[in-house]
């Protein structure tokens, strides 16, 4: 994918000040990128404000991320991305248990607790799609009807059938690899003859070993019986194009982005590093969509952090966005600028969208902006298999168990899906480097060291249970003028408690994993340390709940201004020309990583915006007498 040369520096604060765009978008992640792309296709003028620095996307620039990752002693999920003063971002290494008496202000997120989260998002060009894993499940039809069917969660103003065409459009945009026959379960439906753009990635050797032990396991829950099966996940990374795609027209994968042609990234190479950075760009990132949009004269103004959304007190309409533009990423000096458009789209992510609205004094009359913060709760369990399973190979995760994503039990407890992690115990224990350190510190060296590593790493099995979290008004983002970043922006203050509904799911998941480990003849090594962040006690047992980086719910959509912040087009009820887009609009998150649903919602919003703008363009018909 060619990035148009010079596009990252085509405009300036001075040039922007003199224009009124059709649409001003805040945030150059996937949500902002797809809206910019769709609007510019029809000739609409678009400005994208991006907080992070943005040079033209080149292989050289991308490889600077990779070099920083190689050089980092701690390879956490933000390690490739530069930390700069004007645009701080959350990092898992900043998470700490929260002590009574005050919030943890250690990292960018001010954490009130009681739960301390290590959730992150990435404030670079392309946003969190730079570091995402790229597992890309649609939500189930029943996830949109949880309120009606099970009496849980707020109601959606639209259903699976409404979103289905946009899921397909998102799957094309992102480039999804999956075999359709693996993705028909729990009511997931597709039009006849639909196939994914690319064939499914082969399951790992580890997946196959787990499948031999797990497939056919029967589980009873709330009077329903489930039969478990290891199943490949759809992936937002390039595989082998399916010639049957698009009624036989096939699919051409989008590879690495650079200002000159690069033949790289058109197929996954098994780097096992989807998070935090795919070295070849076989994994989708929003730069691929941005490159298309920028080729159509979309303006990108980087190093411009939205500071305040200004509105007309009479009409509620947004009049301009005030931003702080910094020249030097190593300094907090800035100049104030203003961006004006006919419509405005906040596409920064669930936490930052709410933060910006609240910092602008734009709480809704329903008092729902920032409330209902959701993120998947991850419970990890880990064990040693009896045989060498070849752990640490493949993409981060190729398969899992999804049979408990839906069922009657959701009236009482959270659903979950189980990821089989190809990177072993890396997430909870820091394997395999932690294993190396432990083994060497026992004075094991030479051949014994090599044998021990094979024995203790290549048999590792990790189940990551991605557990549903429902909207709870008290789980929220707020701002507090006492906590600001170096540019003067108020930092997000997070209050979060893991709901009991989720913990009942977690307790069930823990019991189930004991049973599955036993079937596999695997030795359970799971332990949760009460002194670590994320520790939760529930009904007498201890668990550790980690963040999923699937942020949602801070401006949920609904059917009325009293119960929601935006309508089904993600349009603010109270600010007619303002759209809050992305995961924040989702009233429930089910057990699907949020990106494909958020993207489908944004594609739907783009279609609506095009319609709206056309409508506004029509001359007003004057009555004639």
């Amino acid at each position: 994918m060619i990035f148009p040369e010079g596009a990252s520096a085509r405009t300036s604060p001075a040039a922007v000040a003199g224009r009124v765009y059709d649409v001003v978008i805040v945030g150059a992640g996937i949500a902002g990128a797809v809206i910019a792309d769709r609007l510019s296709r029809e000739g609409r003028s678009v400005l994208v404000l991006e907080a992070a620095p943005a040079e033209d996307l080149t292989i050289k620039g991308y490889e600077a991320y990779l070099t920083d990752f190689y050089a980092a002693a701690s390879k956490d999920n933000q390690s490739p991305y530069p930390v700069i003063e004007p645009v701080p971002m959350p990092r898992s290494t900043d998470a700490r248990p929260i002590r009574p008496g005050g919030p943890n202000t250690n990292g960018y997120l001010v954490q009130n607790g009681p739960h301390s989260t290590d959730t992150t998002y990435t404030r670079v060009l392309g946003g969190t799609t730079m570091h995402w894993e790229g597992k890309i499940l649609r939500m189930l039809p029943q996830d949109f009807e949880l309120a009606e069917q099970r009496g849980q969660g707020p109601k959606w103003p639209l259903g699976y059938a409404d979103l289905e065409p946009f899921y397909r459009e998102a799957e094309r945009e992102i480039g999804v690899s999956a075999d359709i026959e693996d993705q028909r379960y729990l009511g997931l439906t597709y039009p006849p003859n639909y196939v994914f753009p690319m064939r499914g990635l082969p399951p790992s050797y580890l997946d196959q070993m787990v499948a031999r032990g797990v497939d056919g396991t029967r589980v009873e829950l709330d009077g329903e019986e489930f039969s478990l099966k290891v199943r490949p996940f759809p992936q937002g990374r390039n595989g082998i194009p399916n010639p049957a795609y698009d009624a036989g027209r096939g699919f051409v994968p989008v590879g690495a982005v650079s200002t000159s042609q690069v033949d790289e990234g058109e197929r996954c190479q098994g780097n096992n590093n989807c998070v935090p950075l795919c070295p070849v760009q076989a994994k989708y990132h929003a730069g691929k969509t941005l490159a298309k949009a920028l080729d159509r004269n979309v303006d990108l103004l980087a190093q411009s952090v939205a500071y305040q959304v200004h509105t007309d007190p009479e009409t509620g309409r947004v009049t301009q966005i005030e931003y702080r533009h910094y020249h030097d990423p190593n300094s907090a000096e800035y100049q104030t600028g203003f961006a004006r458009g006919r419509t405005y789209v906040l596409a920064t992510n669930a936490i930052e969208n709410a933060r910006l609205m609240l910092a602008s004094g734009l709480q809704s009359r329903s008092d729902l902006v920032g409330r209902n913060l959701m993120d998947h709760a991850y419970l990890l369990t880990w064990a040693l298999l009896p045989e060498i399973a070849g752990t640490m190979r493949g993409t981060n995760c190729t398969s899992g168990i999804v049979d408990l994503r839906g069922g009657r039990f959701r009236r009482d407890q959270a659903s979950f899906s189980i990821d089989i992690h190809n990177d072993g115990w890396g997430w909870p224990t820091g394997a395999p480097v932690s294993d190396l350190v432990r083994i060497v510190d026992q004075n094991t060296y030479g051949f014994d060291l090599r044998r021990s590593l094979v024995d203790q790493v290549s048999r590792q099995l990790l189940f990551a249970h991605m557990i549903e979290v429902l909207a709870e008004p008290e789980n929220r983002v707020t701002v507090d003028p006492r906590y600001r970043d170096r540019l003067g922006n108020m930092r997000p203050v997070i209050s979060f408690r893991v709901p009991d509904y989720t913990m009942r799911g977690a307790a069930f998941a823990r019991r189930l994993s004991r049973q599955l480990f036993e079937r596999l003849g695997a030795q359970d090594h799971t332990s949760y340390d009460p002194s670590e962040y994320g520790y939760v006690e529930f009904e007498g047992e201890g668990y550790r709940i980690l963040g999923g980086n699937h942020l949602a719910g801070t401006h949920i959509m609904g059917t009325s201004p009293g119960t929601s912040v935006v309508d089904d087009n993600q349009r603010s009820w109270e600010h007619e020309n303002l759209y809050l887009v992305g995961g924040g609009s989702m009233p429930t998150i089910g057990t699907a990583n949020t990106t494909v649903t958020a993207t489908a919602l944004c594609l739907r919003t783009a279609r609506h915006l095009l319609h709206e703008l056309r409508h506004q363009d029509q001359p007003v018909a004057l009555a004639t007498h």
């Binding site: 990779l66 190689y70 980092a72 002693a73 098994g270 060497v440 290549s458």
Partner: protein, 159 residues
């Protein structure tokens, strides 16, 4: 102490041949990293102890016992020796009392880490094995014929 001495010692403690170690392209960088932290004198002490106490023994059992006792078990030399193993395996120098900094020897060190090679995998984000390679069993490399570095055998050209 020469680079050869450093590589011979490294070969015996890592379980990889000198050929494998030189093939990473990191030998000089690692030697300099170690000397940079503990000084030329510190590194020389370790390599001399190894030469003096271990290299003359041809019985593998005796050799292992002596290496464990006189080098790895030595309160001063042990931490340094273990750090050299870790450096070869993952490219990271771990902080020690008196030298607290933990750092990667260089960006090129990590992709050359022996840890992943030893288990038939690749360092995440580097040395990609190719599409679909993960679907088959791992190919775990065989151990060398002898734990004794070839440069230390009486007749280096033999065998």
């Amino acid at each position: 102490m020469s680079l050869d001495d450093f590589v011979a010692f490294s070969s015996e403690v890592t379980g990889f041949t000198e050929f494998d170690l030189l093939g990473t392209g990191q030998a000089q960088s690692y030697r300099d990293t170690v000397a940079g932290v503990v000084g030329e004198q510190g590194l020389a002490e370790l390599l001399s102890a190894y030469r003096r106490e271990v290299t003359e023994l041809s019985d593998e059992q005796l050799r292992a016992e002596q290496l464990t006792r006189s080098v790895l078990g030595d309160p001063r030399l042990g931490p340094l020796a273990r750090n050299i193993i870790k450096l070869w395996y993952c490219g990271v120098w771990f902080g020690l009392p008196g030298h607290e900094d933990t750092f990667t020897a260089s960006p090129q060190a990590y992709p050359q880490g022996l840890l992943w090679y030893a288990i038939g995998a690749n360092p995440p984000g580097a040395r990609a094995p190719g599409y679909g390679s993960w679907a088959g069993p791992p190919r775990i490399p065989a151990l060398p014929a002898s734990p004794i570095p070839r440069s230390l055998t009486r007749n280096p050209s033999a065998g």
